[in-house]
Amino acid sequence: MNPPASLGVLEEKEEEHLSTPILGPSIHSDNPQKRIQARRLRIAARPEGRRREVPGEYLDRKKESEEDRSKSYKQKEESRLKLAKLLLCGTELVTNIQVATDIREIHRRVEEEEIKRQRLEKLESEVKTSQDKFDEITAKWEEGKQKRIPQDLWDMLNTQQVHCAGLIEDKNKLISELQQELKTKDDQYVKDLKKQSDDICLLLERMEEQVKNVMKTFRQELNYIEKAFEVERQELLTSNKKKWEQALQAHSAKELEYLTNRIKKVEGYEKQLNKQRIWDWEDYNTIKIRLEQDVQVLEQQLQQMKATYQLNQEKLEYNCQVLKKRDEESTVIKSQQKRKINRLHDSLNNLRSKYAQQITQFQEENQSLTSDYKRLMMQFKELQKAMRHFAVVDDKQFREIWLMNEEEAKDLMSRALDVDRIIHTHHLGLPWTAPDFWFLRNVGPISQQPRKSATQILEEVLMQAEEEGTEETASEAESYLDLPKQISAKTTRKILMLLCDESGFLIESKLLSLLLPLEKNECYLLRLDAIFSALGIESEDDLYKLVNFFLKYQIYHSPSSQEQTSPMSALEPGEQTDLEGQEEESLVEGEPEEKETPPSPRLIHPNDVLKILKAFVMGLKKPRDPRAPMKLKCVQDNSKDSEYWEALTTVIPDTTQNLWDALYTGLEKYHLILTQRAKLLVENGSLEQQNTELQMLLQQYLDSQINSELQVPPTQVFRVPTK
């Protein structure tokens, strides 16, 4: 962090490390002073280091990250690092003593061990030698026991004594040596104690020093940090002040501007005000003059009015008198009138009572009549029901009778025809063809043949149209049968389609939604059904009427509209798809129909459909009476029935009857002849019988005996008839 300083610290530290073991514990007192000096140097060098450091590498290193940070932060960081270092060094300094004592202790222990070992060795050797000596002495005792000569014994005892003394002396020497050692150890202990107290003193000193130092440096650093903060604050303050002043100046300038503006405005307003005041004053004067004049005029008028008032008063007084007189008159009239009113009231009351009576009477009457009516209606309904029932029964009976008669007639007819056929084939030898009449196939009364409803027709038409797509030629004959008005199914269909497309408004919206999922044909059918029910078209005839009406309308209006509509219809988008199909069909079918329906239905403009419909409905309404068609139908039916029955009678035509008559006469003649012949034949027969009888007799005679007896037998004379 602080290279020179830290290096210095390091050097100093290393000095210590070197010095402590070299100098030894005795010169320990020298060390702290050096250390203190070094520390002072280092502390002195610190601000320099910091000064050098600020622009130095520290900034460079953290430039990118630190640039935005403030000076105070830098100072704090710096101080932190420095203080950490200081604390570290201080603790090291203090613990150095402990380490030194540790190493001394270790050295002491090593030495102690060495000395102990030596002492033990010495003791052991001593024990060995003394044991030897002791053994020797004890051996000598044994020897001495064997000695008998006192001289020898004494000598020996002497030597023993000497030996023992030597032994004891050795031991004593050893003991004294050990005691000496103990004493030196005691001295050593005292020294050690002293040294330890010295060490502790030193430790305390250092700690105190350290505490002081740390306190000082902490304070210093705090001061530095504070200063840094102060400087920063100052800078901030000045910059803010500058900003503030600028803002203030700007503000005051603006204020001044506003003030001048305001003064100007005030002046202007004052001028205006003065002008206004003068003007108003003049105005006021003129108005005042005028009003005064008005007052004068009004006073004059007032005088005049007063005069007229007096005049009027007199007039009114006169009027009043007149009116009073009139009033009297009117009171007389009023009384008269009142009397009259009373009378009229009386009569009114009478009339009212009468009226009430009548009301009740009529109500009763009404009730009875309504009950009558109801009863009659019931009866009528019952009657109708009975009539209907009878009609049905009659119909049934009629039908049954019809059928019976028809069966009978048919039987007869078939017999006649059979006869005819037999006559033709057997008698005349002519080929016979069965006559083909419309009534032959008829079954049941003609009047009761089911009349098709419009919808059925529609269905058929639509079905046909579909079938026609597949088999055109086959259905053609039938389609003509169904459409006696000689309108092709195709045109009908097209017209109907057009109608369906154009008059959707007649259909209920609910139905439309229901129709959506259905097939196209069914859809058309239902829609048309709805349309027809709305239009009031019920039967086949109505439908054909409608179609005819369309065509006729087209013919009437074609000269005017055809030219207009044709290009339009060609452009119709809805029919565009149909156009191609129609064109093809018209190519195929168009030739035979061309004479009948020159104006093609597709030229009916869709816009005209509504007009046509309207006209049709108007036209249709006129003949629509509720019961007319029923009667008409009956009459028509009767004629048809009679026709039918008449036709039945003429099943064998007159020519054939004539033929039959001629044949009859011829045959009668033939019969006569035949009868004659028959008679003759009978005669012939009887003759033959006679003949045979005669022959038999002859034979008999011939066979008789007599013949043989005869000379000339008769058999030889004549030829005998053989069978």
């Binding site: 962090m1 390091l10 490390h17 380490v99 540790d102 190493i103 270790i106």
Partner: protein
């Protein structure tokens, strides 16, 4: 009350704004109420505070003034204050505190004398200020931080320690201590006793004999110290036990048997600590604990539910004791083990290393001033290669040399939990220093590495110091902003060799 206190303690500079305000207000009142003596003289408060007396005197002096338009009731002492004074006066006989309102309680506590008997105050008063006054009155120096910041706890702990220190078995009545137990059982968490007095013997015959130090065996059965069992069993919150079986300030009466930790002491202590399940820290230093006693103690500590720190420094523990400690490591939640200044040698260190290799609790191991030598050092280094928990290791003064240094340098490259290693006072040598430097260059977590007086080259020591400095800075950055702690390390990398 507050007012009076303020006036009475005007000279105390510690009271800053409140007291000065009070001062002003009272001064104003005295000025304004000066010329109104007659009513005021009726209520001379019977309290012992001087402020009131002086003021009443003042009023009595100005009694001649008859008219006072500015007289107000505010100066008359309130009935509550009078009551409070009475309560304070009779607190010993009738302790009323909990029934009072909080502000009144405060006033009472401020006025109570610290000399009140503990039987009254111990379980009644929780106020720190009162106990602070008690402490400062009794002891000139009080480190309240050492007692968890609680003055009450400090008071009771030191009081109890004092009693134990001066307990003489046989002569002192054990009830002296046991009577205190119900009063202090809830407040004592730490017991630091650095003196156990032996029973009193006849001094004259021993005074001469004891100098020779030869009669130890005669005295032994009689030198048992105070048995802690009953006391510790009563202290329900005891967490720390710091004992020194010795005598302080014996001066010229020195006898070896003053410093004797007997087997009976040992057994009773073992039973005591075994029974104390709340104990977290156990220290037994400078007590001549040898292998056998250490084994007895440690056996009782096996599977202890709470013990976290064991300090047996400055004893006579050898390899067997170390082996027992190693066993303890694997049978407890021990975090700190201190065996400094013992007689552990290579086999003991090897057994410790064996236990350490798979231990996950121990964070600090101190083997200072032992003699584990290279064999033990290598074993420990091997263990550290697998250990992931230890952060502090002190191997100062252990006769270590280069082989251990080479292994330790390998450990430095691998291990990421160690933050502090002390190898001072060893014979590492120049090559060993270089190898440690190599190992250090790959390490980013070590913050302290003491290599003083271990024959390492200055250059390598300096470079290791630089690396440590970088690591410290990185750790600081990491602590400041843990999200991107790699960047400062990278930024510092190139700077270190340049510096």
């Amino acid at each position: 009350m507050q007012e009076t206190l303020a006036t009475s303690t005007l000279s105390v500079p510690s009271r800053s704004s409140v007291s000065t305000q009070d001062k002003f207000s009272t001064a104003g009142q005295t000025l304004s109420t000066g010329p109104r003596p007659p009513r005021h003289s009726i209520v001379p408060p019977p309290s012992k505070s001087k402020g009131w007396n002086s003021r009443t005197k003042f009023h009595q002096m100005r009694r001649t003034i008859t008219e006072d338009t500015e007289w107000s009731l505010a100066i008359v002492p309130l009935l509550t204050e009078l009551c409070i004074q009475h309560i304070v006066k009779n607190f010993q006989n009738n302790p009323l505190l909990k029934q009072l309102l909080p502000q009144h309680q405060q006033k009472v506590l401020n006025l109570l004398s610290p000399d009140l008997p503990l039987a009254v105050t111990a379980n009644l008063i929780d106020d720190e200020n009162y106990w602070r006054r008690c402490c400062t009155q009794r002891w000139p120096v009080c480190h309240v931080a050492k007692h968890g910041g609680s003055w009450k706890r400090l008071f009771f702990e030191r009081h109890l320690e004092n009693l134990i220190k001066h307990f003489i078995p046989g002569t002192t009545d054990p009830a002296v201590i046991l009577d205190l137990l119900p009063l202090c059982r809830n407040y004592v968490r730490r017991l630091h006793v650095d003196q156990f007095l032996p029973p009193v013997q006849l001094p004259p015959p021993h005074g001469e004999l004891s100098d020779s130090g030869s009669d130890v065996e005669l005295e032994e059965p009689t030198t048992d110290h105070y048995q802690l069992g009953d006391l510790v069993a009563g202290l329900s919150h005891l967490e720390e036990l710091d004992l020194v079986y010795g005598v302080k300030d014996c001066g010229m009466n020195f006898e070896w048997n003053l410093f004797l930790f007997t087997y009976r002491d040992c057994h009773s202590l073992a039973a005591t600590i075994k029974a104390c399940h709340t104990l977290k820290i156990f220290r037994l230093t400078r007590s001549k604990v040898d292998d056998d006693k250490a084994r007895i103690l440690i056996r009782s500590l096996l599977d202890h539910p709470a013990l976290e720190e064991l300090d047996l420094s400055h004893n006579l523990i050898g390899d067997r004791g170390a082996r027992a400690a190693a066993k303890l490591l694997s049978h407890s939640h021990l975090r700190v083990l201190d065996l400094a200044n013992n007689q552990v040698r290579a086999p003991g260190a090897q057994s410790l290393a064996h236990a350490l290799a798979h231990n996950t609790n121990l964070t600090s191991l101190n083997l200072r001033l032992n003699c584990i030598e290279d064999e033990g050092g290598q074993a420990l280094a091997h263990a550290l290669q697998t250990n992931k928990c230890l952060t502090t290791l002190h191997l100062g003064g252990n006769e270590l040399s280069e082989p251990t240094a080479t292994l330790l340098s390998q450990v430095l490259t691998v291990n990421t939990t160690l933050t502090s290693i002390n190898l001072s006072c060893n014979h590492i040598g120049l090559d060993g220093g270089k190898q440690l430097l190599e190992g250090m260059s790959d390490n980013k977590t070590l913050l302290e590495f003491d290599l003083r007086l271990s024959d390492v080259a200055q250059e390598s020591e300096y470079l290791i110091g630089q690396a440590l400095c970088a690591n410290r800075e990185a750790a600081h950055q990491r602590a400041l902003n843990p999200s991107h702690f790699m960047s400062p390390v990278m930024a510092k990398g190139p700077e270190n060799p340049a510096g």
